[in-house]
Amino acid sequence: MSKLVLRRLDRNNEEMLINFGPQHPSTHGVLNFLVETDGEVMRRAIPDIGYLHRSLEKIGEMVQYPGYMPYTDRIDYLAAMFANEGYAIAVERLLKIEVPKRAQYLRAISCELNRITSHLVSIGTMATDIGAVTPLVYALRERELLNDLLEALCGARLTYNYHRIGGVAFDMPEGWRDKVLAYLDRLDSSIQEWDRLISTNEIYRKRLGGVAVISRAQAIDYGLSGPNLRGSGVDWDLRRDVPYGAYPDFSFEVPVGCGWAGVVGDCYDRYYVRVLEMAQSSRIIRQALEKMPDGELTAKVSRKPKPEAGEVQSRIESARGELAYYLVSDGTERPYRLRARTGSFMAMGIIEDISPGLMVADLVALIASLDVVAPETDR
């Protein structure tokens, strides 16, 4: 850990300094927290990231526009579809391409399926971090089925590389639609099962309710987004408020935290918003499958697109909050500057200021409830 941080600590104190990571079961990847504790109570937890920095933004300046698509998978390997879609939308806006309707619907379906898988991992690992090992297995069981579906759609279970500039790579395979519908029926009942299993558990509610409260003003000030922002009671969803792709065609609700187990903006709110969002994703997929139009899968895009000089930003609602690609083009076939703003990175920024006074066990809950994923923070 950095000397700069160590210098900030008082040497003549009674606190214990612990490295919480980089190899720790609850850090969800490789990241480190320098935890200053006085017994069980934390004075501060300073996040130290960068263990998974793969200079994806620099790589973006070296490859051509279509060639960057597989790299976007690695931005967030639990929700790669969103990284695909955000990049595709950014380049499409730069090239002024209209995406065919069918491709937009397929994008929405694939993204929402991916949102469910991502949230399943999030809530499952959260239960494990709180000490209940069993729910994780149930969440992963559901996720395996979804991975099968996504594999049938795009041939990969984790790094999909499914979206293309101007559309999507493949159409739905035969019989896939029925499988998805069957799965969604199952999902709706398994969300209820999940509630009976852990959401209504008294110990679980006591562990999460009223813990690590992020107020509405704080959440906005720190630039939180996605479920973390909604958990703090801000009614905001890019899919509804700044619609993109096929989302204007669907009706769905945006779950907002309302203090289910204590205070608005506590860990339980952030957790339960995700549970409710899975049901809404299921609703969107049903509508998309129902209204699915015929047509092309991709617009006509040259194989070496050369956009005019200019800059563009695309914002999409990823599973971990707002994913914004900022692309600057200088008129060549490679991006001049590629920037991905991710939800996890912003969420990491708040941990140091929220952590004082929490217990060590609460830090685990806080990290899990913010759904921080190391590759997305580090890129």
Partner: protein, 459 residues
């Protein structure tokens, strides 16, 4: 949903293998029972004296070998108890993993022997062969010594813990007090291991464990006082003899405060055994593994042996104090005496009854063990301040109240014994009703997800 059925392949298991494993599965408990029934009652001065007099043909008071025979008997009993602890610990480790797998809708160990029964032997052998690492910065002597304190704390409990009418190594007059005292050895071991590992996480876990065990000794002690007051003795066998075979003769039902005390004791024992929801000391998602993070190989195996052997102790102590212990319904003390006969050695029927009493004790204990395992794989972990709150704000006052209530209750029961009988029947009926409601609710919950039943045909 046909496309989503999870049909696991059925391995073509060889018949010989099945036979061998099932044989082992039957033979090991049978051997254990035999060991307990025939060895442990022999650690008894009159019996040994009779053995020397009649089988060896010496006068026990004057013969030189008498002390050697006593020592040999004690040694054999010690070996028997330790083997018992090791083997039950091992079997429980396999059993817990299978039950956990069932709860989590997965399969669990199923490769080593039928249903993976021999898994625990394989694990033990594997751990024995692993390198015994001592961290470079650790206090090597304390680090090496710590597991033995833990093991000693566990095995010493077995000395006074009965498992049948005559199956107890030493029926101490202060039996239950002794059990409470030697359990504290485990804390010493845990603290030593946490400190000597020279790892902050280990220390964290050790401090948590110590705070927890020391705190929960208080409600446990108060809860134990309730049956002690009712029986008027501290001896474990005496506590069981004060109860009867039928459920309404158990302490649990005879006194409403005893029912409360049972749950206080059970919760405290979960906490003292570091079982979920009180597994703060080894919380893997917070402290990686807590006080035994740095251990490997055989010493690591010792910690796990103690953890699982503790399951038996948790169940056995609660059974002894509240659930009638080894008492066989309809078999009174007179029956025991008459079956034993007047000879210096007990008659065959007595030995048979010992088996029955052991079986009854084991069934009750295993039921509680099941509950402990089931709780572990169901509940999340509580936080340390909640743990302390529960102990000092709820359990300790409740324990005091139960104790005071019992004092009054004993006076009432002496004055009018019919009150105790009626209470026992009422509480028993209430328990049956609650159990019935619980089973109904479980059935309802199961039927809600019945269509998702996972085929575990190679169990």
């Amino acid at each position: 949903m046909a496309q989503f059925s999870f049909a696991f392949p059925k391995p073509g298991t060889k018949k010989l293998l099945v036979g061998a494993t099932l044989g082992a599965a039957l033979a090991i408990p049978a051997l254990l029972a035999g060991l307990l029934v025939f060895l442990v009652p022999m650690v008894n001065k009159p019996l040994l004296d009779a053995f020397i007099r009649e089988k060896l043909g010496h006068v026990p008071a004057t013969w030189v070998g008498t002390q050697w025979v006593y020592a040999a008997a004690l040694f054999l009993a010690g070996i028997a108890m330790f083997t018992f602890a090791a083997i039950t610990g091992g079997i429980f480790s396999w059993y817990e993993r299978r039950v956990a797998a069932r709860i989590q809708s997965r399969i669990g160990p199923n490769r080593v022997g039928v249903a993976g029964f021999l898994q625990w032997i394989a694990d033990a052998v594997k751990l024995l062969f692993k390198e015994d690492l001592v961290p470079g910065e650790a206090d090597a002597m304390l680090f090496r010594a710590a597991p033995y304190f833990v093991v000693a704390g566990m095995t010493l409990v077995l000395v006074a813990l009965p498992a049948g009418q005559a199956i107890v190594v030493a029926d101490l007059d202060v039996g239950i007090f002794y059990i409470l005292a030697v359990t504290s050895f485990i804390v010493v071991g845990i603290l030593l291991s946490g400190w000597s590992s020279n790892s902050k996480w280990s220390l964290f876990g050790a401090i948590r464990a110590t705070a927890q065990v020391v705190s929960y000794e208080v409600p446990a002690g108060l809860a134990i006082l309730v049956p002690v007051l009712m029986a008027g003795t501290l001896s474990t066998q005496g506590l069981i003899r004060a109860q009867g075979g039928w459920p309404w003769e158990w302490f649990f039902f005879r006194n409403p405060a005893a029912a409360v005390a049972f749950f206080i004791l059970f919760i405290s024992q979960l906490a003292e055994g570091n079982r979920t929801p009180f597994d703060l000391a080894e919380a893997e998602s917070e402290l990686v593994a807590g006080y035994f993070s740095e251990y490997s190989g055989f010493r690591f195996a010792l910690y796990f042996l103690v953890e699982w052997a503790n399951l038996w102790i948790i169940g056995a102590v609660a059974t002894t104090l509240f659930l009638g212990g080894w008492q066989i319904p309809g078999v009174s003390a007179q029956t025991w005496a008459s079956v034993r006969g007047a000879g210096s050695f007990p008659a065959f029927g007595w030995w048979a009854l010992q088996f029955v009493s052991l079986g009854i004790f084991a069934v009750k204990t295993l039921f509680l063990v099941n509950v402990v395992i089931w709780i572990r794989w169901t509940l999340p972990r509580i936080r340390i301040d909640q743990m302390m709150n529960l102990c000092w704000k709820y359990l300790v006052p409740a324990g005091f109240a139960a104790m005071l209530f019992t004092l009054v209750w004993q006076m009432v029961a002496t004055w009018a014994p019919i009150v105790e009988k009626i209470t026992a029947l009422v509480v028993f009926a209430a328990t049956v009703w609650v159990t019935w409601r619980f089973l109904q609710q479980t059935r309802k919950n199961v039927s809600l997800i019945a269509h998702e039943r996972v085929d575990l045909s190679n169990w």
